[in-house]
């Protein structure tokens, strides 16, 4: 029976589960086994569509058998196949369902892993959905007080935001990272997160916001006495002086080179826009021409 045509297995299993006059209760146990076998054979035959459906049904069966762990596992396999089929809507749905099942098991770690996998799959195609998944994954971890694992997720989400050019959101995520790092006593990551936030604001040419961000971060003792703090203050000083050479030099410094790749790319592209305009603003008076340059 195990080597027979997977389609036949599928139909057999369906028959077992469908309620009709002759059958009052669905026999999920044997049905699930059949579904799993069918799904495996389909996958080997590279019949992704059918394999996906089979995995879905297998997962349902496991649910009915009250084993959410297996159900979640099947859901994940189904999601992976949906990715092959490029069915993005389904990918997101499946991964979410899988993570819910994992949470049911009481296992938040695999739950967030599932969401992260989904987000990674959708990064290029549906970035907004990917960001949503990332933030959900981070929330799951934070609820479980495992912020350490969330660092990678925050960084990946920030990268997606930067690709979408949503710099304020990216910087906000960095600040959240800083918060998580503080809770888990990861000072280095915290300082790096704050420095990245300042750089993102500067890249968006939002100098006021960058300064505000820097002031906020300076309230934190750990940041105040760190290398990254010195680097950030040098950068801001260079900006107020309008010294392009100095900005470039700070961007080449080692503190910046230890940040994320995407942030390093942003830093190298500094300064964006007219730096001397900032200088005029901070000194005095409305040099209207320069302000126009900024916008």
């Amino acid at each position: 029976m195990s080597t027979s045509d997977p389609n036949k297995l599928l139909t057999k299993a369906d028959k077992l589960t469908k309620l009709s006059f002759t059958r009052w209760t669905a026999d999920w146990k044997s049905a699930t086994i059949l579904y799993e076998q069918a799904a495996n054979s389909f996958r080997l035959a590279k019949d992704y569509e059918n394999a996906k459906t089979a995995y879905e049904k297998a997962s349902k069966g496991q649910e009915m058998l009250s084993s959410p762990w297996d159900a979640a596992k099947h859901m994940e396999s189904a999601a992976a196949l949906a990715k092959e089929l490029r069915n993005w809507r389904e990918v997101a749905d499946f991964y979410r369902r899988a993570s819910e099942l994992y949470i049911e098991c009481g296992r938040p770690q695999p739950a967030s892993d599932a969401l992260a996998k989904g987000a990674r799959a959708l990064e290029d195609t549906v970035p907004e959905e990917a960001i949503q998944l990332y933030t959900d994954a981070c929330t799951v971890l934070e609820e479980d007080e495992r912020e350490q694992m969330a660092f990678d997720l925050y960084r990946a989400a920030t990268n997606v935001y930067i690709k979408l050019e949503k710099y304020t959101d990216a910087a906000a995520l960095m600040l959240k990272l800083g918060l998580a790092a503080e809770k888990s006593n990861a000072i280095n990551s915290q300082c790096k997160a704050y420095l990245s936030a300042v750089i993102i604001y500067l890249y968006a040419h939002d100098f006021k916001q960058a300064e505000k961000c820097y002031n906020d971060c300076s309230q934190v003792d750990a940041f105040l006495s760190s290398d990254q703090n010195r680097c950030a203050s040098k950068l801001l000083a260079a900006y107020t002086d309008g010294d392009v050479e100095e900005i470039k030099r700070v961007a080449q410094s080692s503190a910046v080179s230890h940040l994320d790749n995407v942030i390093i790319k942003l830093a190298r592209k500094l300064p964006t826009g007219d730096v001397s305009g900032l200088k005029a603003e901070t000194v005095e008076g409305e040099e209207i021409l320069d302000e126009n340059d900024l916008t």
Partner: protein
């Protein structure tokens, strides 16, 4: 005829014809002559020696040796300049056997002396030292410029040596700074790596604890199962 005989013969012939030997006559004349000629001869020979030393200094690769030679040349020049006023006085004195023409000539010679003395190269004016002696001594043009301003003062000559050494010191210090910058960059990277490793370790501690509990549970289960298996086995063998 033996060698001794030959020697005696040569000596007697030489002494006979000595008056025809120009060089010797000149020398004797110089000695027999007045103080001016004597002094002038010594000055001349000193100038020649100084010129030779300055040539040697130019060809010298070792900076310290070159500086030492140049210092000697400068000292010689200083001494010569001191001798000059004496020479001038002697030149004016009338010596017996000396024509008026000769006197004028002597005065001209004395006048020409200072120029000749100053023309002796003593390292102040040389610009293109061989660069092999320790890489990048581009401070030489600076020294040349300064010496043009303070030409001929003894005080400056001494501090010029020290400024050379000071420049050497500055160059070496700049090189040290560059090296230290390089090292500091490497250390920064190391520090960052160490911090990241630290955080990673911290992250893995609770995971290890979880693994620990789970594995403990698993071993307990396995032990129980083994015990039960053994019991069953002993029971079944007993029955038999």
């Amino acid at each position: 005829m033996s060698v001794v005989d030959i020697l005696f013969r040569v000596d007697s012939i030489c002494s006979k014809y000595d008056k025809y030997d120009l060089d010797k006559q000149r020398e004797q004349n110089a000695y027999g002559d007045d103080a001016f000629a004597k002094l002038y001869a010594t000055v001349d020979s000193t100038i020649q020696a100084a010129l030779k030393k300055s040539d040697a200094a130019l060809a010298e690769n070792n900076r310290a040796a070159a500086a030492a030679l140049n210092a000697e040349v400068r000292r010689a020049k200083g001494r010569l300049m001191d001798e000059l006023p004496k020479l001038r006085k002697l030149a004016k004195k009338k010596v017996k056997g000396l024509t008026d023409e000769d006197l004028a000539i002597r005065e001209d010679l004395v006048l020409a002396l200072p120029e000749r003395i100053q023309a002796i190269p003593d390292g102040i004016t040389t610009v293109n030292q061989p660069g092999g002696g320790g890489g990048g001594w581009s401070s030489q043009p600076n020294i040349k410029f300064e010496s043009d301003m303070h030409r001929g003062s003894d005080y400056f000559e001494q501090s010029e040596e020290s400024s050379q050494f000071r420049n050497e010191y500055e160059m070496r210090r700049i090189k040290q700074d560059e090296g230290l910058d390089y090292i500091s960059e490497g250390l920064d990277t190391l520090k960052n790596l160490a911090h990241d490793m630290n955080e990673e370790m911290d992250r893995q501690v609770p995971l290890m604890d979880e693994i620990d509990t789970k594995v403990d549970r698993a071993t307990a289960d396995v032990r129980n199962t083994n015990k039960r298996l053994k019991q069953r086995l002993t029971e079944s063998t007993e029955v038999i």
